[in-house]
Amino acid sequence: MRNASLPAKRLYWGTPLQRNLLGIAVVLLALVAWELVARAKSSIYIPPVSTIATTFVHEWFSPQFREHAIPSLMRMLAGYAIASLLGVALGVLIGAYRPLFRLLDPFLQFLRAIPPSAIIPVGILLIGIGDAMKIVVIAFGALWPILVNAADGARNVPRERLDTARIFGVGKTDQLLSVTFPSALPGIFAGLRTGLSIAFIMIVVSEMIGSTNGLGYYILQSQRSFAIPEMYGGIVLLAILGYTLNAAFLAVEHRVLAWHHGQSARPV
């Protein structure tokens, strides 16, 4: 088993610590390059990193964070939570019952093909421009990848696993929870991950259209009032939040799917 992973190791250079340091060095190099180019050009549209950093600290280590970042995060989490619950529950159900899947699959694939930002006008028309619209739009965007992946996972549970449950007297509803759902978890997590990045995109887009707070609003507003370092600062904050959310997601996935990763690491 150990031998099987040996050839792959050649792809990497150095120890893990050395690789991390190298990664950080690349980031620092990019920042230094930006700083130099910005200073050389001295255009107000490309402020130096140092200016952006100062503005960033000033803007975000302040009540501003509560005014713009927290509402964005709350809307995103609300929309994402709705999409996750609905997507997993409906997806597992649809995947588990073949006739239902055959009936709904074309419809789902069609809905999934709609770029989520395209439904913002519909949302504004039907619900207005408040928080509800943003939450619905985020939920709509994140729902389809979660639902479709959950359905796929639930559809591909090995026959023997379900038969085994049946032999042990486990009824249909119970099979859904104790066999189909855990079997579909790898698929569900793939969907949740795509859903998370879509939710993150949707929060920014929905806040750029009809909003009075939130990060999307802040970035657009800064640009319109020529507060250029502020605009870049908002983008940097989004990057930091996105990175953190993704890292948190991976940590959860690593725990919940430990069995799956362990299993796939072995040649069967």
Binding site: P158, D163, G169, W259, H260, G262, Q263, R266, V268
Partner: protein, 268 residues
Amino acid sequence: MNATNDPLLDVSGLQKRYTSSGTLAIDNVTLDVRKCEFVSIVGPSGCGKTTLLKTICGLLHPTGGSVMLDGRLVTAPPPEMVLVFQDYGRSLFPWLTVEGNVAFPLKKKRLGPEKKRAAIDEALRAVNLERFAKHYPWQLSGGMQQRVAIARAIAFSPDILLLDEPFASVDALTRAELEDLTLKLRDTLGITMLLVTHDIDEAVYLSDRVFVLSPPPSVVVRGFDIPLGRERDQEGTRSDPRFLELRNEIHHLIGRPRTDLPQPAAAR
């Protein structure tokens, strides 16, 4: 414990035609298994053996004939009968530990925590896996995984085990070990065994009686008594002239030359 004459399992005129494809998999199978008996069904590859076992245990509905277990008609998987699949990789639950897998069939049994614990320990001890209770199935070798599947089956305390080529995916040494384990379980726990295999030697070595199946649509070509006594051992029994004679006779009946290695059964 000795085999008595009451049939525990009575299969008569069993027929299975798949409604979707119209294929007649099993034409007319009649056989019986007495209490504490070890009975094998052998036949060429692809002769509908899995279909036969699934129909016997009530996972599939027969299109003709009947299955009686202890005098009662089987229409759904009865709690006295457990089917062990060939592919442990698909039938075990990879998100549960060995212990969790063995505990799975006990969920429906309304046992107190102590009785449940005792049942799990007993089942694991019976297959010599008590030291691996906290491992995950995929951390174990193929033979050990099939022992987990067997432990899970006996934890359900069935009267009869149906074994669908359970030793086809393991190496020869492990195979002999698992064969002797099943014989031991029949004797110590008094569980009746019905094994399906394409390995004639295995069938003769293990069984009190062997039924030979024709290519599909399957019928029972002939039944053989295997008068080799209760005690079997890999060297002695397999070199017994009566063993060789029976084996050759069955080979002749099935009409193919003796092959030392079983067919790769994984490709199905």
